[in-house]
């Protein structure tokens, strides 16, 4: 077994994630930590985020930045500026062009804010488009209508964004193959650089799950969802979008560098309530509680010590468990588990560690095992969870 250090990245850069937990209203399927905007908490929230960034800065190069939530763009311009400024300055000072993403909703992206983002060095914007069908948007309890999406994209282009992502959701109650392919077509027509297509999940505690339980919405048929997934790959592929992860597609090499950090199980710092960090082998989640967050970071004198009370959970896996988790993450990528990369990062030989799992799933046609990588086949992608179970 090669004697590489676990987490080869620990000397290199770190991805930064900033969670801003406010939204205009809550979408029906959403289980991210987001609340209706609390105007009077915003100044303290900004102060807290700035403080946390300062205190928890690992002092290493920033590889990528991703500002999400929540909907960052619901913050008033000055507040948004105050949050982004410190990162912006650091990135500019380093003088290296890195991916800097901000999430936005089609209905909250106005010219001024988009320009502000550009000014702060944001070079990638990600819109929660979700669907181009009015009825589906209503089921999802989204605030925009399909025309807002086109408008948002053209505003972004006008502001100078060369890297635009659209998020879409399939498997929506009432959705048909036809309407899904129509949404794909309309998204493609807008020419985004990146498209993420997620399957709707019924998460505990969401409005949609409640409605499903009461029989008010009927989930999409499993077979239809499988077909939608397949249509996604072929329709986007035909339009020049390469699938590089189960739900992610890019054109012209514009893969999301920040998310690649997650999928390769590399290091990142998460700032804001509910954000997750993975540094030095420790994954740590901050409590999903804005009030406690603000009290800790905006008020106290020595927040460094108090911050421990904000940790919701913290986990440090053993070497082998970490390697297994890394493999499961990498399987999501079309590049799969690249053997060299895997060994360098975990110290294990993938073919030794997962011999039985590879053999079984390759025999079932779910994995390919050649060309220096272990990858899910198309059939394997559809049954990814089952394959991944064998790697755990």
């Amino acid at each position: 077994m090669a004697q590489a250090k676990a987490n080869a990245g620990s000397g290199g850069g770190v991805g930064w994630y900033v969670h801003l937990p406010f939204c205009t209203t809550k979408c029906g399927y959403c289980d991210f930590y987001s609340l209706p905007t609390q105007e009077d908490w915003i100044p303290d929230l900004v102060k807290a985020v700035r403080r946390e960034m300062e205190v928890r800065d690992p002092g290493r190069a920033i590889r990528t930045v991703f500002v999400g939530g929540g909907t960052p763009t619901v913050l008033p311009a000055d507040a948004l500026r105050a949050v982004l400024e410190p990162i912006s300055e650091r990135v500019k000072k380093a003088g290296v062009e890195i991916e800097f993403t901000c999430e936005a909703n089609p209905s909250t992206a106005d010219e001024l804010k988009l320009e502000l983002l550009r000014e702060m060095g944001v070079n990638r914007v990600s819109f929660g488009a979700q669907s181009f069908d009015l009825g589906e948007l209503a089921v999802l309890q989204r605030l925009h209508d399909p025309s807002h999406i086109a408008e948002a994209v053209s505003l972004a282009r006008a502001a100078g964004f060369e890297n635009v992502n659209l998020d879409l959701i399939f498997g929506v109650p009432g959705q048909t193959m036809k309407s899904w392919r129509n949404s794909l077509r309309r998204a493609i027509e807008l020419g985004p650089d990146h498209v993420s297509c997620y399957g709707l999940m019924y998460e505990e505690g969401t409005a949609l799950t409640k409605q499903r339980r009461m029989g008010l919405v009927r989930p999409c048929d499993e077979d239809v969802e499988a077909e939608m997934f397949e249509a996604t790959i072929s329709d986007l592929g035909a339009a020049g979008y390469e699938q590089y992860e189960i739900s992610n597609f890019a054109r012209g090499g514009r893969r999301c560098e920040h998310n690649l950090i997650y999928w390769r199980n590399e290091e990142y710092l998460g700032v804001g309530p509910s954000a997750v960090s993975y540094l030095g082998g420790v994954r740590q989640k901050t409590k999903a509680d804005v009030k406690a967050y603000i009290e800790t970071w905006a008020g106290a004198e020595a927040p460094g010590t108090l911050a421990a009370t904000l940790v919701f959970e913290s986990e440090e896996l053993g070497r082998e468990a970490r390697a297994r988790e890394t493999a499961v993450q990498m399987l999501r990528l079309n590049d799969g588990i690249e053997l060299g990369r895997f060994t360098a990062q975990t110290g294990y030989e993938a073919r030794e560690l997962f011999g039985a799992a590879i053999e079984k799933n390759a025999a079932a046609g779910l994995l390919s095992n050649g060309g220096g990588a272990i990858r899910l086949t198309r059939a394997g992608q559809l049954l990814a969870n089952r394959v991944m179970e064998d790697f755990l």
């Binding site: 199980n265 997750v276 559809l382 179970e389 755990l392």
Partner: protein
């Protein structure tokens, strides 16, 4: 104690009519329990009884009542009360209790009126020749109709309406009058303390520290601490190490005399060393003849328990043995299934009893169970004229191996509002019921007597009855005999392999519809696999219904977990763990619920 100052009685009633609550008030009114120690259903001391709010085991207590009236001599009386369970599965407890008493309080809920177990228990008391005090309870309820109910009692059971005592076990209203009535109206026990000892073991329990405690009723003679006694039925001798009563705290006494109800410890190790119903006498001076005793309660519901994935069959055996030491009314023996491996065939008094045992096994011994659907026992007449019993559909041989198959029959008394008669008759028809008679309790309530094959009613009939009578229907039943029927074994094949644990015995005319429903239900319970799974229901070699579980198309989480990698991993771990906990039959994973599919008769 002067025998004329003793009263022995049981409280009997339909489920939930307030027996245990009335016992509370009697204890409290006589000062047996301090107010601060009082809790609802004080005598229900099993954890499960308290949780479910029902009485499972009969309980007893001795009260002292200062009688100030004039109809019998005034002064202190000793009242021995036994609180009985109302549920039909535990009716043998009532029969046992009655043999220790001279009278009963027949309790009826003032808003519900007479129900099926009211009748069944009242008949038992009449049969045993006991004095009955009708007590109408819950008169505090707004819907209470005590006078109407007293009328009902008079019409149906010939208990004079004016004899009924109105009480509220909740508030205590009427309870002092009831205590006086017990003294005045119930006869004192008969018996002669100078004769040789003759006492009945009417119940027994295990005390974790002191071994078996026998609950006894002394008919003649006297039993004292250190007496050498003999259990006449089993023919074994013991030393009575302690005798006494429950006040309701356990209290040692010098002796118990004729007419008394109390307890005896005699160094008996296990519950299986005593026969409930046995007679206790002195080893050196035995009484002339033993008391008649009881028929042992019959196990009428059977199912198999197999160790689940986290449990070994040795652990399961130990768990069953441990429970069996506390509850002699269930039985188990090793069995094996082609599909599920080695397990245990268990017999129960009824479905509730089964659920209680299952719950206690899981709770007290933390075993993982795979349970097959319950079944009634069947008799087979073999070509050599022998009759054998089978307690699992899996044991039913092919039709050429026997001449006749017989199913257990019950006589059921069903009390329903008159307006529900039509609906009930239709349901009874579907369940192969034979109407025997109809009696009116009042103008709007009737008792229908039916004969049913037991297998048609034990699972869900009661729920159906409740729903078609908006909750007012009640039922009581008892086993009558075994009767030949046109019964066949319905086999279920999963992925072309017969799964013996899913077989059922059904009437030929119903095989097809039951088969179809069963596999429809199974299709929902068994999750999709990576291959297609055919499901078939067959009688002999004839397939009568089929369905297919399609191969899984999609099992992928297409979602953005962002940096929450741990969460995603934990979800996968959970899914993997869940599969490990299911039973693998061939290459198909079958969840526990699937084995219960048989119980779902679907919509009829």
């Amino acid at each position: 104690m002067d025998i004329s100052r003793i009263r022995n009685f049981s409280i009997i009633a339909h489920i939930d009519h307030g027996k245990s609550t009335l016992a509370d008030r009697l204890l409290e009114t006589c000062g047996a329990v301090e107010k601060r120690d009082m809790r609802a259903q004080y005598l229900d001391d099993m954890e499960l009884e308290r949780e479910m709010g029902i009485t499972i085991k009969a309980n007893r207590a001795t009260l002292r009542h200062e009688y100030k009236g004039t109809r019998v001599p005034a002064g202190e009386y000793m009242l021995n009360l036994i609180d009985t369970p109302g549920h039909v599965d535990f009716h043998y407890e009532v029969s046992r209790a009655l043999a220790a008493c001279e009278g009963v309080l027949l309790l009826v809920d003032a808003s519900q009126g007479i129900e099926a177990q009211t009748l069944a228990n009242a008949y038992k008391a009449v049969e045993a020749g006991l004095a009955i005090i009708p007590v109408i309870n819950k008169i505090d309820l707004p819907a209470a109709r005590p006078h109407d109910i007293a009328e009902e009692l008079e019409n149906t059971l010939s208990l004079p309406a004016e004899e009924a005592i109105f009480v509220s076990a909740k508030s205590g209203m009427g309870v002092p009058e009831l205590l006086d009535a017990i003294v005045e109206r119930l006869p004192p026990p008969k018996g002669d303390s100078t004769k040789p000892l003759k006492a009945l073991i009417y119940d027994a329990k295990v005390d974790p520290h002191r071994g078996v405690i026998c609950h006894i009723r002394v008919f003649d003679g006297l039993i004292a601490r250190n007496d050498k006694v003999q259990l006449m039925g089993v023919g074994r001798e013991y030393h009575a190490t302690d005798v006494g009563k429950f006040f309701p705290k356990i209290t040692s006494l010098e002796n118990l005399t004729a007419g008394d109800v109390g307890y005896m410890f005699a160094g008996i190790k296990t519950i299986h060393d005593v026969n409930i119903g046995d007679t206790v006498t002195h080893a050196s001076n035995p009484c002339d003849a033993a008391l008649p005793g009881y028929h042992p309660p019959q196990q009428m519901v059977f199912c198999d328990f197999f160790p689940g994935p986290g449990t070994t069959s040795i652990q399961l055996r130990e768990a069953l043995e441990k429970l069996w030491l506390n509850d002699s009314s269930f039985g188990f023996e090793p069995t094996s299934s082609a599909a599920l491996g080695t397990g245990f065939r268990c017999g129960f008094l009824g479905l509730l009893h089964m659920k209680i045992i299952q719950e206690r096994l899981e709770r007290e011994s933390a075993v993982d169970l795979v349970q097959t659907a319950p079944t009634v026992p069947y008799e087979l007449l073999l070509p050599n004229n022998k009759v054998i019993k089978i307690e699992s559909p899996a044991d039913m041989p092919s039709p050429d191996k026997f001449l006749e198959i017989r199913e257990p029959m019950i006589r059921a008394e069903i009390v329903v509002p008159a307006r529900s008669i039509g609906a009930l008759m239709q349901l009874a028809d579907e369940r192969r019921g034979t109407h025997k008679k109809t009696d009116y309790l009042s103008t709007d309530r009737v008792v229908l007597t039916y004969e049913f094959p037991m297998g048609e009613v034990i699972y869900d009939f009661y729920d159906r009855l409740k729903s078609l009578t908006s909750g007012y229907g009640t039922m009581n039943y008892e086993l009558t005999n075994y009767k030949a029927g046109d019964l066949v074994k319905l086999d279920i094949l999963v992925n072309a392999t017969p799964v013996d644990a899913l077989s059922v015995i059904v009437h030929r005319d119903k095989a097809e519809i039951r088969g179809r429903r069963l596999i429809t239900r199974l299709r929902k319970e068994i999750s999709r696999h990576q291959f297609e799974i055919p499901l078939q229901a067959a009688v002999g070699s004839k397939v009568i219904a089929r369905e297919t579980i399609k191969a899984v198309r999609k099992d992928v989480t297409a979602k953005c977990y962002g940096g929450d990698v741990s969460r995603k991993r934990k979800l996968l771990e959970k899914q993997k763990e869940g599969k490990k906990r299911m039973k693998q039959v061939g290459n198909v994973t079958i969840p526990q619920e699937a084995f219960m599919s048989v119980l779902d008769p679907g919509d009829e």
